[in-house]
Symmetry: C3
Subunit: 355 residues, 3 copies
């Protein structure tokens, strides 16, 4: 059960080619992306309305896409405008179009009622496209349900154990208490850790001699997006003094491919004034190692759950953010269902109607 009235990241902007078709599945629906002549991305259901062949097996013709099976031609709104051998095209011959937008290099699709697609609901992934921040874009595929990855991102106590030799470096992270507060469509988690050794991956950014005070401050918002300021500062330095600090900003989001598989888009940005792009490359390589650590653990956890789906988790104090976010998702899904229930007098609009 996933929230539908939501923007989901379907791709990095650079993944969608200038003159070819791109397909990726979101919430179990294969979605075709391509660019019209002005570079704008269109998002259509990747399934011909005729015999259900994927349109991505066809070809782009100008601003249209032609099905590679029997040649139906669809325009960028999803309307069929040509059926080979037929003189007219039925009005119902069309494929679903999804609201789509690009913000700061992330391509978002709206998976719910198109009439409710609202750009104000986009997350503030500013560091993905800022002259002040520098990064290498990342993508991973998980063969696990998306909520398990949200859980992981909502509880950084795992840094001390999963990432002991990469992002963590101290059990003090797990021992620190995280502050949680509400933000629109999500929560803010603040975790500060005092007087700890620099984590191994900071070496990619700069040499650090002594212990640090570290901070992780992030919003985690629907449908599963983390927006985080983090960093570390020599303990001798004053709180506002960033001259010897490591300062990072990270944007990460997890998009369900299906009920059991997930797309993971991520970046960890460094300040441009602190060195050249090689630092961003080194950070990215460290992050890949760490995110493989996560994927190995979450995949093992997921297999254990599959083997015995009724096994209960035992939620602890450290799970406060997990519990709050799961509750938010459940309430949002429930509210969408209520809204989608037809009233006895006025029939509800078809939730699958075309944009």
């Amino acid at each position: 059960m996933f929230v539908r009235n939501c923007w989901y990241v379907i791709a990095w902007d650079h993944e969608v080619p200038a003159d070819a078709l791109f397909t990726r599945t979101v919430l179990g629906e294969a979605i075709l992306l391509y660019r019209t002549a002005d570079g704008t991305i269109t998002a259509l259901r990747d399934r011909c309305c005729h015999r259900l062949a994927p349109l991505s097996k066809g070809r782009k013709e100008g601003d249209c896409v032609r099905c590679g099976y029997h040649g139906l031609l669809f325009d960028a709104t999803g309307r069929c405008i040509e059926i080979p051998g037929a003189e007219t095209v039925p009005a119902k011959a069309r494929v679903q179009r999804y609201p789509v937008t690009v913000k700061n290099k992330w391509v978002f699709v709206w998976m719910g009622d198109p009439a409710r697609a609202d750009l104000a609901l986009l997350p503030d992934n500013f560091s993905c496209d800022s002259p002040e921040w520098d990064y290498v874009p990342g993508y991973m595929h998980y063969e696990t349900p998306q909520p398990l990855i949200c859980d992981n991102l909502l509880d950084f106590s795992h840094l001390s154990y999963v990432h002991e030799k990469t992002l963590g470096g101290s059990t003090a992270i797990a021992q620190a208490r995280a502050e949680i507060e509400a933000v629109p469509r999500g929560i803010r988690v603040t975790r500060k850790v005092h007087d700890v050794p620099p984590p191994p991956y900071y070496r990619a950014v700069r040499e650090l001699a002594g212990n640090l005070d570290r901070w992780f401050i992030y919003d985690f918002v629907l449908p599963g997006t983390l927006l985080m300021h983090s960093g570390g500062r020599p303990i001798a330095d004053a709180e506002g003094d960033m001259r010897r600090a490591v300062r990072l900003h990270s944007c990460q989001t997890v998009t369900p491919e299906t009920e059991t598989a997930t797309h993971y888009f991520f970046q960890q940005s460094r300040r441009v004034e602190e060195g050249d792009h090689a630092i961003a490359e080194a950070l990215y390589q460290s992050l890949l190692v760490a995110f493989e650590e996560d994927r190995a653990m979450i995949t093992a956890q997921s297999r254990a759950i599959e083997a015995d789906p009724a096994a209960p988790m035992m939620l602890l104090a450290m799970d406060a953010a997990v519990v709050r976010f799961r509750k938010l998702v459940a309430e949002t899904v429930a509210a969408e269902r209520v809204a989608a229930t037809p009233s006895p007098i006025q029939p509800a609009r078809d939730a699958r109607s075309i944009a």
Copy 2:
């Protein structure tokens, strides 16, 4: 749901060795084929009646087959004639025998009531064994349901798109209107295309300078067999003048392995008087490329359907033959069910009884 009172092609004649066991699954039933001393093929359920081990894991002993697990010996009628360590063999110790026949190099098994097996229902696959026709026999395996492949063969408009660079070569094929008429247990489809460039694969047969008139005339009969005359003639030549024409005959049939996988047997024959066997080899190689194009498209379509089995197809004018054949299958399956329903007075015979 498949028609059962029907001959299904299980193998090419040359696939069944002279003195060894051969197994292939049809309609979900593993079937053992082997030849008795006179070369006749016998077809038995490939499953020992004792503990269900495949007989094909055993060995041929004269005209019998011995189970490789505990040594039960079955004769060519499926009767058990020896149980090691037992003095007598129970009469019920036998495996199902299927009516089997060979016609023009195709080995057919009858999957329904043996009492109704009727050689008159075999298709006229004459070019598979004719001094006038020459071909290379083909086989492919599909991981898709059989009806999707029937759909493909019933609508040649796909030649313009799936086979643009192989069998097609012109969008005029899709634009041409196919004539459909009834034949016993199937339909006849006639498609004529005027003044089009020769399709790329005709080069295997002969050099053709200008445009052609092309024709495709085929019967498509239960359970999924295509028998087709096709060809192309320079537009300047009179309709009966075949001197510069390409003339082909093709026999193709799709046999369900299970509900979700299919055997595809095919050949495309050329006239022997028009050149040597190298032409048939070249045609076969072209056909393999084209049939891979089909398999890639149909497999993609099948995966899209699996992901959302309730999605409706939107049938168009081009689907007239598809619709008529699907209706014929549905009616035939329904009629078999009615016939199999026991009357209140006289119990029906066991549909699975042994031949």
Copy 3:
């Protein structure tokens, strides 16, 4: 449906390392094994009670195991003794502990009610740890249900066919009549075969010129353990004269990994006074070949059953031991269920409660 109040072999003693974690699944439950400082093996559910990650992805710390996800620390009884960041540990924070014991190099876990774990129910696998017997320990994994492997071991008539060129060597084995008698929690099968050629694998033990009298005398006990004396003696020699005989003892046991996969632990021992360890190595290599023959046949049988689960087996005289053992399993499972049914007055204890 498996018997639960039973010792199942989970590993060979040498498989559990001195200072690391070992995991294997039994009856669908992943079980963590490790050794405490004194070498004793502890067996815990390999699943953290917190978010269900496998503890085997964590690490051993002294006599404890720390979860690699969020750092919970469990002692060798399964009790959680540390939750990072929490001052207290809830009493219910623990993982299931299984009774575990080692006897003659086999590590056994008790999968039922811990209060009923009874060392007297361990099988007499004496040759696994005896100065008089020498062997190489074996392990195979089957992708088939465990009962099909029990069936195989309960009916040695298959030696004549599956193992014609390895363990068998004569159809007389299948023709011999097996005597069956009851033993505690199982049956005893005695099969004697007169005046047959030595089986090919006896060559590993000694050169034998003429025919032999062979014997196979084994107990087959719950949950699926074979304990067998077997051998062969030149027909000219008197029954008690072992000077030119081959004498073997074998311990084999099949442990369900899940409903559809199985662990197979085995050894075939030779008398130490009859030669050096190279003989045991040669016997082991022969056995591997033969057990691959079994696995191929049982896997093929299992696939045939999966394709048509309702197909009935036709039990014959040779299946007497199969039928008796299957009946014993069914009765034992049924009796466990009756015992587990809560009475209307006194609620039954939780079958999944912690040891």
